[in-house]
C-alpha cells in the first residue's frame, strides 16, 4: 500500500484508532474519573499528572475529553447515518424516476441546501428537545440535501449505463434492477462523501454542544468542554483551547482518511 508510506495518512489512522478506543473503552485511556471533582486541584495547568490540566471544579480535563468522545462522535455518526439514509433515498427515488418527480424533489432539496445546516439543526433541536440524539438528527437533516444531490447524480449516471438497460431486456424486475445494479454501482461516491461528511458533522455537533444544546452538564461533550472554559480564557486558556484542538485534529484525521476512501492518494 502506497498510502501507508505517507506520514500524514498513518498519523490520521493512529488518531482515529485512539478515538475509537476512547469510544469503546474510555477507561483504558482515561487517567481519572471524569466526574470526580477535587476542590484542592482546581484550574491546574497541564502536567504529567493532569495532561490537559483541571477545570474549575477540579476535574481532570483529559479524562473528560476521553469520555466525551463517545457522546460527540456517536452524535456525528448518527448525523451521517441520517444524512445517508434520508438523502440517499430521496436522491435514489428522484434520480431513478426522473421527469417531473425529479424536478419537484430537487427544488425542495435546493431550498434545504440553501438554509445553513447549523440553522436547520437548531430548528430540529429546538423542536425535539436538547440532547445528543436530536443533535444528530438535526445535523443529519442539514446534510441530507447534499447527500441527495450526490446520490441523484450517481444514479442518473448509472441508470443510463448500458448494463442497466441490458438487465431490463434480460427480464429483471424494477426492484432487482435497482438493488442489483443501480445501488451497488452508485454507492461508492456516496460512501466516500459520507466519510468526508463525518468531519463536518463532528464540527456541527461540537458547535451545537458549545451553544449548550447537547446533553445537560456534567456530560463531557467536546463542544461543551470548550464552552465551559470560556470564563477562564484569560488566565487558564488551555481549558478552551485543548478541547478545541482535539476537535480540530480529529476532524483533520477523518478528512484525510475519507479522501483515501474516495480514491485519492
Amino acid at each position: 500500500m502506497r498510502l501507508l508510506r505517507q506520514p500524514g495518512f498513518v498519523l490520521s489512522l493512529i488518531v482515529l484508532a485512539v478515538v475509537a478506543t476512547a469510544i469503546v473503552a474510555p477507561s483504558l485511556l482515561a487517567t481519572h474519573d471524569p466526574f470526580a471533582s477535587v476542590p484542592k486541584e482546581r484550574l491546574l495547568p497541564p502536567s504529567a499528572e493532569h495532561f490537559f490540566g483541571t477545570d474549575n471544579l477540579g476535574r481532570d480535563v483529559y479524562s473528560r475529553v476521553v469520555h466525551g468522545a463517545a457522546l460527540s462522535i456517536v452524535s456525528a455518526a448518527l448525523a451521517v447515518l441520517v444524512g445517508v439514509v434520508v438523502g440517499g433515498l430521496v436522491g435514489l427515488t428522484s434520480g431513478f424516476l426522473g421527469g417531473p418527480v425529479d424536478f419537484a424533489v430537487m427544488r425542495v432539496v435546493d431550498v434545504l441546501v440553501a438554509i445553513p445546516g447549523i440553522l436547520l439543526a437548531l430548528i430540529v433541536v429546538a423542536s425535539l428537545g436538547f440532547g445528543p440524539i436530536s443533535i444528530g438528527l438535526g445535523v443529519g437533516l442539514g446534510a441530507a440535501g447534499s447527500f441527495a444531490r450526490v446520490m441523484r447524480s450517481q444514479v442518473i449516471k448509472v441508470r443510463g449505463a448500458e448494463y442497466v438497460e441490458a438487465a431490463r431486456t434480460l427480464g429483471a424486475r424494477m426492484p432487482a434492477v435497482i438493488f442489483r445494479h443501480v445501488l451497488p454501482n452508485a454507492a461508492r461516491p456516496v460512501i466516500a462523501f459520507a466519510a468526508l461528511e463525518l468531519g463536518t458533522a463532528i464540527l456541527g455537533v461540537s458547535a451545537l454542544t458549545f451553544l449548550g444544546f447537547g446533553a445537560p452538564p456534567p456530560a463531557p461533550e467536546w463542544g461543551a468542554l470548550s464552552s465551559a472554559g470560556r470564563d477562564f480564557i484569560a488566565a487558564q486558556p488551555w481549558l478552551s483551547i485543548i478541547p478545541g484542538l482535539v476537535i480540530l485534529v480529529v476532524v483533520l484525521a477523518v478528512n484525510r482518511v475519507a479522501r483515501a476512501i474516495g480514491g485519492e492518494r
Binding site: 448494463y163 441490458a166 438487465a167 432487482a176 442489483r180 454501482n185
Partner: protein, 554 residues
C-alpha cells in the same frame, strides 16, 4: 535502395505492472523509406501501438525503452535529450492519434489549435498562422474552412475532427507521420474519405507514413509495405502484394483469412460433433420449440414504424416508415452510417423505444403496446446483444452472476442447475469455465462479447437483436465472434436482426439486407442481390467503402 528515413534497430520496450517489469516489444527492427507508407498490423496487445509511442518517446509512465536505437535524421531518438526531441515532434515527425474525440482541446477553437502548432514550431506570427490554419483545413478537405476554424471540437463530427488532427500532423510539413489507428473510431464511409485524404497528402508532400492498424484490409489498400506484429515481435514484413498473396507466417495467414474485406460470401456454420442432448441448455430450447405457436415465415415483422426526437428548434426524424421482416432461423441485417436510424429501428423492434407509429409483430402477435409483465415475458423470446461489451456488463458482477442473471429473473431452476447451465453456456460460446469467477474488467473485448452472447442465450430466445456486436472488436476477434454467431444460429435455429455500419461484416452473416439512410429504407433484398446488384447509389458507396476493395480489385 535509398537511404532510409527512419531505422529502428533491436527496439525493446517494457511495462511495469504492480512493480514487476515485463517486456512487451522483443527487439524489433525495421526501416521506413522516404515517401513510403508502411503499415504496422497486429491485434490488440501485439505491441504495435507501443512501438508507435516508443518512436517519439511518448510511452505511458509505466513504460520504458530498454534497448535498441531509433535513427531519424541523423539522431538516435532513444538517446536524444527531451528538449531536442520536442523540436522534432510536431515539426519533423507528425502524429495522428487514434481517438479524435479526446485528442483536441475542447476549450480551444479548431483553427487556434492548428495555428498553435505553427507558432511553436515555425515561429509564425499570430495573423499568418491563423490564415495558414484555414488553408490547412481546406487542404484536408474540410468544407467551409473559415467557419470551421472558429468552431470548437464538439461542433465537428468525428470524421471532421480526425481531418483536423491530420491537418495538425501535416501543418509543419513533416518528413514522417505516425498515424495510430487513425480511422478505427469512424464509420466505414468516413474512414474511406479520411484515408483518401491521407493518401493525397502523402502524394503531394512526399511524406513517409507509419500507419498503425488492426485491419489488414485497410493496410492492403493504403500501404506500400506491411509489417505484421504478433506478441511483440515482427513475424512478417514485405511489399504489400507479397504479404497478402503469399503470407509466410501462420499468423499472417490467419489475419488474411479473417479480414472481412478480403473474402467473399457468408460464413458457413462449422458443425461441431453433435453432442448428446441431455444438457440443461437443450431442454430450454426444446421447451421453446414445443411452444412455437405459428408457422409464419417471419419471426419478427416490423411495419411502417416512425420515430421522431425533439431537438433544439424542431424535431428530428430518426426513423420514417421503416418496414422489414426477419425470416425465421435466418439473418436480416440493417446497414447504414451513424444517424441512419438503424439503431433506433432495432431498439424499437426490441421494444426499448416506443415508436410514434407502426406495428411490431413477433411470431404474428402484435407486441407494439405490450407492457408490464407481458413485456417482461417477451424477453424470454427476444434478446439483445449490445455494441459495447465494455458497457453492457455490470462491472461489479462475476461472469457467473452475469450469465445467471436472466435465469434468476425468471426463476429458472435452482442454484445448482443454474450453475450447471452457466457452465454449459460458457462452453457453448467457447469460454473456459475458469473465467466464471472473473469480473468483466479482467476480460478482453472478445471474451466480454462472448459473455454477453452466453447471457442472451440463457433464456433460449427465438430472436436475437445484435446491435453492432463486433464493431468494438479487432478484426481477427470479429471473425471469431461472427463464426460463433453463425454456429449458434445453425445449432439452435436462432433468428438474427443484425445491425452494422460495415457491409464487409454484414455480408459474412446476412441472408437479407436492409440499407438505411437518414431514417429511411433505401434498399432491401436478398443479401447476394444487394451486394452484387445494388440499385441505389448510397448502397454502392457503402460497398465501395469496404476496406480491401482496392487491393482485391487488382
Amino acid at each position: 535502395m535509398s537511404e532510409a528515413l527512419l531505422t529502428v534497430e533491436g527496439l525493446r520496450v517494457e511495462y511495469s505492472t504492480r512493480g514487476r517489469w515485463s517486456e512487451v516489444v522483443h527487439g524489433i527492427s525495421f526501416d521506413v523509406q522516404p515517401g513510403k507508407v508502411v503499415a504496422l498490423v497486429g491485434e490488440s496487445g501485439s505491441g504495435k501501438s507501443t512501438v508507435s509511442q516508443a518512436l517519439i518517446r511518448r510511452l505511458p509512465e509505466n513504460g520504458r525503452i530498454t534497448a535498441g536505437a531509433i535513427r531519424f535524421a541523423g539522431n538516435d531518438l532513444v538517446k536524444l535529450p527531451e528538449r531536442a526531441l520536442r523540436k522534432l515532434r510536431g515539426a519533423q515527425i507528425g502524429f495522428v492519434p487514434q481517438d479524435p474525440g479526446s485528442s483536441l482541446n475542447p476549450l480551444m477553437r479548431v483553427g487556434e489549435q492548428i495555428a498553435e502548432t505553427l507558432r511553436i514550431h515555425k515561429r509564425m506570427p499570430r495573423a499568418t498562422a491563423s490564415a495558414r490554419a484555414i488553408e490547412i483545413l481546406d487542404e484536408v478537405g474540410i468544407p467551409q474552412p473559415a467557419l470551421r476554424a472558429t468552431q470548437y471540437p464538439h461542433e465537428l463530427s468525428g470524421g471532421l475532427r480526425q481531418r483536423a488532427l491530420i491537418g495538425i500532423a501535416w501543418a509543419c510539413g513533416p518528413q514522417f507521420v505516425i498515424a495510430d489507428e487513425p480511422t478505427s473510431a469512424l464509420d466505414v464511409t468516413v474512414q474511406r474519405h479520411v484515408l483518401d485524404q491521407l493518401d493525397d497528402l502523402v502524394e503531394q508532400h512526399g511524406t513517409a507514413v507509419l500507419l498503425i492498424t488492426h485491419d489488414l484490409a485497410v493496410a492492403a489498400d493504403r500501404a506500400d509495405e506491411i509489417i505484421v506484429m504478433y506478441r511483440g515481435e515482427i513475424v512478417e514484413r514485405g511489399v504489400t502484394a507479397d504479404v497478402l498473396n503469399a503470407p509466410t507466417h501462420e499468423y499472417t495467414r490467419r489475419l488474411v483469412a479473417a479480414a472481412p474485406g478480403l473474402r467473399e460470401g457468408r460464413l458457413a456454420p462449422q458443425v461441431r460433433e453433435s453432442r448428446s442432448d441431455e444438457g440443461a441448455l437443450f431442454s430450454t430450447f426444446r421447451e421453446r420449440a414445443a411452444a412455437a405457436r405459428t408457422d409464419a415465415d417471419s419471426i419478427l415483422d416490423v411495419r411502417g414504424i416512425s420515430k421522431s426526437y425533439g431537438v433544439r428548434g424542431g424535431s428530428f426524424l430518426a426513423a420514417e416508415d421503416v418496414s422489414f421482416a426477419v425470416p425465421r432461423g435466418r439473418t436480416l441485417s440493417i446497414v447504414g452510417e451513424s444517424g441512419s436510424g438503424k439503431t433506433t429501428s432495432a431498439r424499437i423492434a426490441a421494444r426499448l423505444v416506443q415508436p410514434d407509429a407502426g406495428t411490431i409483430l413477433l411470431d404474428g402477435e402484435d407486441i407494439t403496446r405490450a407492457g408490464g409483465e407481458a413485456l417482461r415475458q417477451l424477453r424470454r423470446r427476444m434478446q439483445v446483444v449490445y455494441q459495447n461489451p465494455f458497457g453492457s456488463l455490470d462491472p461489479r458482477m462475476t461472469v457467473e452472476r452475469i450469465v445467471a442473471e436472466p435465469l434468476r429473473s425468471f426463476r429458472i431452476g435452482d442454484r445448482r442447475s443454474q450453475a450447471a447451465l452457466v457452465r454449459e453456456l460458457l462452453e457453448r460460446v467457447q469460454l473456459s469455465p475458469d473465467l466464471a469467477v472473473r469480473r468483466p474488467g479482467e476480460l478482453s473485448g472478445g471474451q466480454r462479447q462472448r459473455v454477453a452472447i452466453a447471457r442472451a442465450l440463457a433464456l433460449g430466445p427465438d430472436l436475437m437483436i445484435l446491435d453492432e456486436p463486433v464493431s468494438a472488436l479487432d478484426v481477427a476477434v470479429q471473425e471469431q465472434i461472427l463464426q460463433l454467431l453463425v454456429d449458434l444460429q445453425a445449432e439452435f435455429r436462432l433468428s438474427y436482426l443484425f445491425i452494422s455500419h460495415d457491409l464487409g461484416v454484414v455480408r459474412q452473416i446476412s441472408d437479407r439486407i436492409v440499407v438505411m439512410q437518414k431514417g429511411r429504407v433505401v434498399e432491401s433484398g436478398e443479401a447476394a442481390d444487394v451486394l452484387e446488384r445494388p440499385s441505389n447509389d448510397y448502397t454502392r458507396e457503402l460497398i465501395d467503402a469496404i476496406p480491401g476493395r482496392i487491393a482485391t480489385a487488382d
